[in-house]
Chain length 276, copies 2
């Protein structure tokens, strides 16, 4: 199984430390050694850093940990290959343009009977079930909405029915974003938490460290220290208005109440807030 | 005007040093301070590093200089904005999928009357004339070739006629690749050179340094030292079979004979060799 990590925030927020934790699971503390990727949205634009080598050894992953790219929406993935070779074209997330926006997708799970999925004008470049399913989703969206839709929550409700179809073919945990919205669809494991003022103190799951969220850290700094002995950068700042939601395959902190998404359920976030 | 840099090679080759030279022109020795990007193909997959900030100050650019990503095909661009704000979504190169391959495009120049170009299912995400022209090119290709074409040189001949149409609207220097082929279309300035065994000695344009290509450097190492005081990494190796073509807006070395592409002409390279 792969690990997913997503973020939605109302102010551009960096995810360096959260990503540091994830990276350690990519060949460090976890078995997910078959590549990794992370997509940051900055306005309508996005950029993806990816590497088919284990994240724990990747110079690109090191850059992403050290370079605070501030973003409203983030989708990240570390891979344990099942379908498709370990290769750049099979490395998540995948981004395609639809309705003049960049759509970014990452999948955790495995599908059967995916080869017969019709993908229309969206052709997979690699060999994964994941990319094929993404192309099928986009194709179905263009069939349902030949013109740019106005009611985006309705679009995501339709996407949830498509995700449900895919879940019928195996395991389908998904993160999907168009840069404004971040959708989390759960097939087996997916958790989320929204942090907002007043920021409290979080205890990490696997080491004896407490972070005081009301200090100068950003509300997602804490996620870090789970998997690795890192130093927290206190130079970043929260304001009382910051709202940041983090989505992850498994909870990343101990004494906070992460919400579990039940199999077949989904959540939609926009600017840090839960919409659905 | 922006600067273009491309590479086509018969063995996976890194372009760290060539890129180091280009980067210096991005806010260092040159005026191209409005972002930069570089796309590397590794197999069918590709990854793009880009930053809307000047390349000379970009931590991402520093990574690309230091991390030897070996590639058959590379497209790079540094930007001096004319149409479209300085923003990530307006930063070249642009990549879109067509016929199950990633197509990457970078443009140097400025177009008039581009807003009326029909782009079909390929919608621009940003506001540049460049991305609009790219979407139009792809749309025209899907009209001409509804199914995946087999004769790629014929496809590129058709692309050249489309590029000619765009040249009628202003200045249109272009690099375009599907990962196997690298096409260079010239509207004003574009040069190329193919390096192969026996590798000779090159004198740099703006300093008194000679590089012996027959030593252990790779054939494109030399490009580096043009704009900056860097050290050459002699740990990489050439073999007698290496063929590497470098394409650049302006020649990067002195005593080598760079070929100028005349306005309205184009070249097509595959695995380092000129095809057209």
């Amino acid at each position: 199984m792969c690990e997913l990590l997503g973020m939605s925030a109302n102010v551009p927020t960096d995810i360096c430390f959260s990503f540091t934790g994830l990276v350690q699971r990519g060949g460090g503390t976890g078995p997910h050694k078959d590549g990794w990727g992370i997509t940051f949205y900055e306005g309508k634009g996005c950029r993806t850093f990816k590497d088919p080598q284990p994240s724990v050894h990747s110079p690109v992953a090191r850059l992403v940990q050290e370079y605070p790219i501030k973003s409203h929406s983030v989708v990240a993935h570390i891979r344990q290959a099942n379908r498709g070779a370990v290769a750049l074209e099979n490395t998540h997330p995948f981004t395609r343009e639809l309705w003049g926006r960049n759509w970014t997708y990452a999948h955790n799970g495995q599908l059967n009977g995916y080869r017969s999925l019709e993908t229309g004008n969206f052709r997979p470049v690699g060999e994964t079930d994941s990319e094929k399913a993404f192309c099928w989703l986009l194709h179905r969206l263009t069939q349902r909405y030949p013109r740019t839709p106005g009611n985006m929550p309705a679009v995501f409700r339709y996407i949830a029915t498509l995700a449900e179809e895919l879940r019928g073919k195996g395991v389908f945990n998904m993160l999907l974003s168009d840069g404004r919205y971040v959708m989390a669809y759960c097939s087996t494991h997916l958790h989320w938490i929204t942090r907002r003022a007043p920021f409290g103190v979080a205890t990490l799951l696997d080491r004896d460290v407490e972070i005081d969220f009301s200090s100068q850290t950003t509300p997602n700094d804490v996620v870090t220290v789970l998997d690795r002995d890192v130093e927290i950068d206190f130079s970043s700042q929260t304001t009382p208005n910051d709202v940041v939601t983090v989505i992850a395959t498994q909870p990343l902190t101990g004494n906070e109440s992460w919400q579990k998404i039940m199999p077949g359920e989904w959540r939609l976030f926009c600017l840090g807030e839960r919409i659905v």
